[in-house]
Each structure stands twice: as C-alpha cells, then as structure tokens.
Amino acid sequence: MLDWFPKNISTFGAEIDHVFYLIFYIVGIGFLVGEALIVYFLFRYRRRDGQKARYVDGETWAQSAWILIPAVIVLVLDLWIDFAGAKAYEAVKGDTPVAEVVVQMGSKQFNWIITYPGPDGTFGTPDDMVKENDLHVPINKVVKLLLTSEDVIHSFFVPVLRLKQDILPGREIESWFEATETGTYEIACAELCGYGHYTMRGFLHVHSDEDYAAWLAKSWPAPEAEPAAE
C-alpha cells in the first residue's frame, strides 16, 4: 500500500482508507487508460501526407455506442463506489454505539473547552471538570463526544482517527470514536474560525486502562469520589 496517510488508530479508520484505495485503483486505471489513449491519438493521427481525416460525426447509435458504452461502465463503477462507501459512512456517522465514556467537547475562538462529567457520570453537577485543549480517553472504549460551540463554526479533526465533524453554534452534535492505540495525538480545527484559527490546537491523550484509572484518580481525588472502577 502507498504510504500517504498518517497512521490509523480508530476502529473505523481502516474502512475509510479501504474505500479511498478502492476509488484510487478504479479511477487510477481509468485515468491512465484515458490519458494514454489521448496521447496515442495525438501521435497516431497527427497530420501526415496522404492521410485524410475521417468524417465521423457520432450521430448514429452505432457510432455513439463508442462513448455511451464506456459511460455505462463509468456508471456501474460509480454505483460500486457508492455502495462500498455507504457502509463505511454508516460506521462512522451512523448511530453511536453504546458509549462507555461521554465528554462534552466545547469550542470557542480559539480553544477547545472539554468538560468531563466526573465520577457521577452526569453533566451539570459539582464534580464536573473543565479542561482546555486536553482530551483524555481510555483505549478500546467507545467515546461519545457532545460537540458544542460558543461562537462560530469550528471543526473537530483528528487525522489519526480519520474523524472530522463540524460544530455548529446553537446545536449539540454527537460524534464518537474508539481509539486502538495509546499515545498523544493532535486535535486540529478544520474550519476557518477567525484570525487565531491556526492556533486552535488540542491534544488527544489515549491512555491504557491502568493509566486511565490513574488519571481518573488524580483528577478526582476528593474523598467522596468513587474509586475509578471500570
């Protein structure tokens, strides 16, 4: 495989990459054949003595079949690409699987405002914790994001997750992912949001189970906090 993409650390990323390569090989072959034919025609039919142009206007069905049949092939390939894509799209943007971690991903010019519900698992309670630009999640768990914006449209983009979702002020948009590799990755804003757009950078910390438990314990050390059981 060609190495154009950053590595993939989401459960659905491989499907997106797969659809990309499916399209790449289909249109790549079509492209090469098309360009090669044109270049061949340019050499083969350049003006030469004693060779007259043929009067072919393509107005009969027999002649137009030469362009209509390839067009039908294009149509079939189109439908193939569409149906292959539908499944992958459904996997990413369809219904969110049952989530084990829910985080409010707020945004404003030019920061990510991340709210964790805390041990009680509900938002709007005193044990909520708000962090700027650092999103902590456990590995191999479905994470549900509730995306909101305080001012303009931002876009949550993590290239290694192959996930992008615009965030609209006035709405709460749901998105999800399940990370399969630990590490720290960058979160980018992908929608022009003002003069500081390019600085709107966050970090996704994917923790192993033990690290995540340690992070939970460190973040909610209060006596009434339940042990970070999971």
């Binding site: 990309f20 107005e59 569409d82 983009f157 979702q165 002020p169 006035g170 929608e191 003002g194």
Partner: protein
Amino acid sequence: MSKEEHAGNGHTEDLGFWRKYIFSIDHKTIGKQYLFLSLFMALVGGLMAYYMRWQIAWPETAVPGAGWIPEPTAYDGIIPPEFYNALVTMHGTIMVFFVGMPFLLGAFGNFLIPLMIGADDMAFPRLNMMSFWTIFLGSLVMIASFFFEGGSASAGWTGYAPLSADPIHTGANWGMNLWILGLALEFTSFLMGGVNFLTTTVTMRAPGLSMFRLPLMVWMQITAAVIFMLSVGPLIAGAILLLLDRTIGTGFFIAERGGDPLLWQHLFWFFGHPEVYVVLLPGLGAIMEILPVFSRKPIFGYRTIIWSTIVAGVLSFIVWAHHMFVSGMDPRLVMPFSITTILISVPFAIVIFAFMATLWGGSLTFPTPMLFAIGTILTFIIGGVTGIFNGSAPVDIYIHDTYFVVSHFHYTLFPDVFLGGFAALYFWFPKMFGRMMNETLGKIHFWWTMIAFNVVFIPMFVLGLGGHMRRIYNPLQYDFLKPMQEMNQFITWAAICLLIGQIPFIINFFWSLFKGKKAGDNPWNANTLEWAAPTPVPHGNFATVPSVYHGPYEYSLPGSETDWQPQHLQSGPTTSA
C-alpha cells in the same frame, strides 16, 4: 432593440472616443472590456496567491514584494493572520467571480454569441453595456474593501456564518459588507448578461441557423446562463439576509438570535455547485470549437454533448449538500447527495469520451490554441477523477477541508478557466484584434504553464492525504504538519514559477495587439459564422445577413475538394483563406 440602436447611433466612425471605446454598446468592445478586466483581476488574484503561498512556506517572514502594503494590513512585508485570511478569501472570490465568469462568459460570450449566430449585436446592447459597468463597479468595490478598518472579508470565499454574520468574529466590518455588495453587483451584472445571452440566441439567429446547427460554444454559454439565473436567486436572498445580520442586528444565521448557521451553507451551495458548471461549460465550449478545427473532423456526438451538459446542469441542482457531508446536517441526507454527486461524473465522462473520439481518426495539427485545448482535457480529467474521492461520503470525512479538496478544485477550475480560456484567447484573438498571436511565445507559455501547474498541485494532493488542513496561516503550529513543510516550500517555488510563466503571455498579448502579423478573415479555415465576418469586424458585424446551410462542424466531408464547409456557403469554399 438593436436595430434602432444602430440606426440611432449611426456608424461607429461618427462616435467619439468615449462612446466608441468606453461607454460602448458594441458587443465586441464590451467583450474586450470584460477581457481586460478579467486579465487584470487574474493578476490581482495571482499576486494574492503568491503572498499566501509565501506565508505558508516561510511563515511570518517578510514576503518579497509586499513591503509596500501599509500597516496594519502588513508589517514590513510580514503578513499577519487577519490579512492572510483576507487573502484566502479574496483570492477565491476574485478568481471565481471576477476572473472565471468575466473571462469565459463576459469576454467570449459577449464577443462570440452575436457573431456565431449571424446577428448584428446583442438583443439589448444598452443592458449589455450596463452589465459590464456593473461588474466593473463590483471589482472596484472588491478592491476597495481592503482599505477599510479591519481589512477585507476574511471568512473564506464561502463566507460561512456566523463567522461572516457578525463583525466581532473577524474584526472585518465594512470590508466584509463591501465584499457582499461587490458580489451582489457581480450577480446583477451576470443576470443582465444571462438575459441578453438567452434572448439573443433565441430570437436573433440567422436564417437557416436552427438550434441544432448552433456552435456548441453558444449552447454552452446559454446553458451556463440558464443555470446561473436559476441558481443565483437563493444566494442573493442569502446575501441580503447576511448583510442585515451584520448591519441591523437580525439573526437569520446567528443561533443565539434564533437563526441557523446551516441555512447559509444550504443557500450558498445551492448556488455554489451550479456556479461551478456556469464557469465550466463555456470553457469546455471553447474546447468544443477548437478540437474540430484542428482535427479537421466533426465534433463527435454533437447532440449527445448537448444533452449530456443539460443533464449535468439539471443534476447540478441536486448535489449541493456534498459540500456539507461533515457540516452537522442530518446524516440521512448524506448518501442521497453522495449518489447524485458521483452520478454527475457520467454526463461529463460522455463529454470527455466525445473529445477523445473527436481526436480519433483526425488530421491533427498543434498550433497554440490546440495545445491549450488538449492540455485542458488532460488536466481536467485529473480534476474529474479526484472529485470521486470528495463525492464519496466516507472518504470526504477525512479529506474535507484539507489540501486534497483545494488541489481538486484547482484541477477543475484552472484547466477550465486558464488553459481553456487561453485556448480560446489564442484561437479568437485574430478575430478580436485583427492580428495573430506569436506562436513561439505561445508554445513557451503553454509548456511552462502546463508543467508548473501540475508541479504545484500534484504534491498538494499528497499534503491533503497527510491531513494538511486548508486555510492554515502557519502550519508549523502543528507537529504533524512539520514534516510536510518542505513540500509546502516546494509547492510555493513551483507556484512562483507558474506565475512567472505568464510573462511570455503578457508580452505576447501586448506585442501581438500592436505588432502581430495581420490576420485574414479566417486564419484557421474554420466553419462557424464568426469567421465569415470581415476582420476587423465592423460595428454591425456582417455586411449582409448570412444564411446558414450547414451544421457547424462539417470538416472533411466525403467527396468535397477541401476539408471544410463554412456554415454560410451552400457548397464548398472557393478559396482557401
């Protein structure tokens, strides 16, 4: 109507300088005015691209040649983020609305439609003059927008609300209001132009020139005009609402005032996608005229091409939400739009196949217009096939708003507007200005442009696949973009080469204008009616109204002595021009 106009004004010679060259009602002069305006605006847009690319490659260093820009727009040639965003916005706006449309529709539509249908002028010459001066005013307003506090519009050429809907978000206040006003003037101009194109074509064709004997360029122009007129209404409404949001505090696109930001995107793209074909079709139309002439062969599938482009035009009204796959609209809408989008490749594939079939079995020669025409086809195919990736909803989740998309639409618009537009200009220059353009300079211009363009934009696909977002002022802010910085610098060098490659054209254009070899009436032995008019074409065009006996592409008719058959001659041409 035009007959009265001409009767009332007498001959051109009687008119003073102002009526003849400035406030002219002659479609040919108006076409040339559009041409000069669009070429000038192309230079402005190109300069903006240079500033932008320099900032991306060597962030926050002084841009050579930007020292003249006063503070606070730039600081000794260093471009701040606000100005960068304005450059991104205005480069797009200018290239689409003030270069693409005036070049392909304004210049060639106005110049060619009356000549190609054997008419003496447009149906409404005064409206035609007004359409030019309206877009001229629009251009001035656009350029003026830079000089207001807060700078010009900086919310992207798509102007997504609410970033664009309240001055507090960008700091651009009157600059952005003027951007809306400038666009409104441009829309008004092309509405007037569209009415003229349609009325002229429907009512003023020469005897014998049925709709299915029209040159394809005329078909493409009127199809584009219809698509434009049907799609622009919602955006004009949207622009007014946006202006009200900005100025008197309404909240059509502002959530906290009860509006909806997504509404703007629907209104914008309902127009925005058909607009792509408004620009595309006349460029393809030029190719459709040039290929048969230099292949000495009829265009393959004349009617098939007409129907295909009409189908594509209709489809273009139901694909707009493919720009919005990750916008937060209902995900159930995504697959229907993905399917219509990918289907639109079928009619365009037919057009491209028809081009290939036209070359097949021809007797090809390669003067500059033909080189540019072939270059258009070869590069436009890349724009076409990369559209499939964007149209595929899952792939778009990843590549949306990355350089992949930027590269894709440059691969559609650049071949069309510039390669196709240059093909048209080299081809019709002799009829417009009575002189030939220089072939050597033309060929240098072609190869330089063709190579540099591909060297700029092929690597940009790779950047996009690496996840490089578009509209990023300083890519070094992100660790994952740092390894791509060398490629960014490479692209900027190539872009500078591409701009320098236009110098042979500029020299050629002005040199040929005054010193070029005098052109005959029909230097390419072409069939269509514009070549039947004398060169230089007088006011009123044809000495006598031509009658049409043939279709536009009767080249190499079996049994004919010559390899062409002008539309207005009953039997073969008596002399070779």
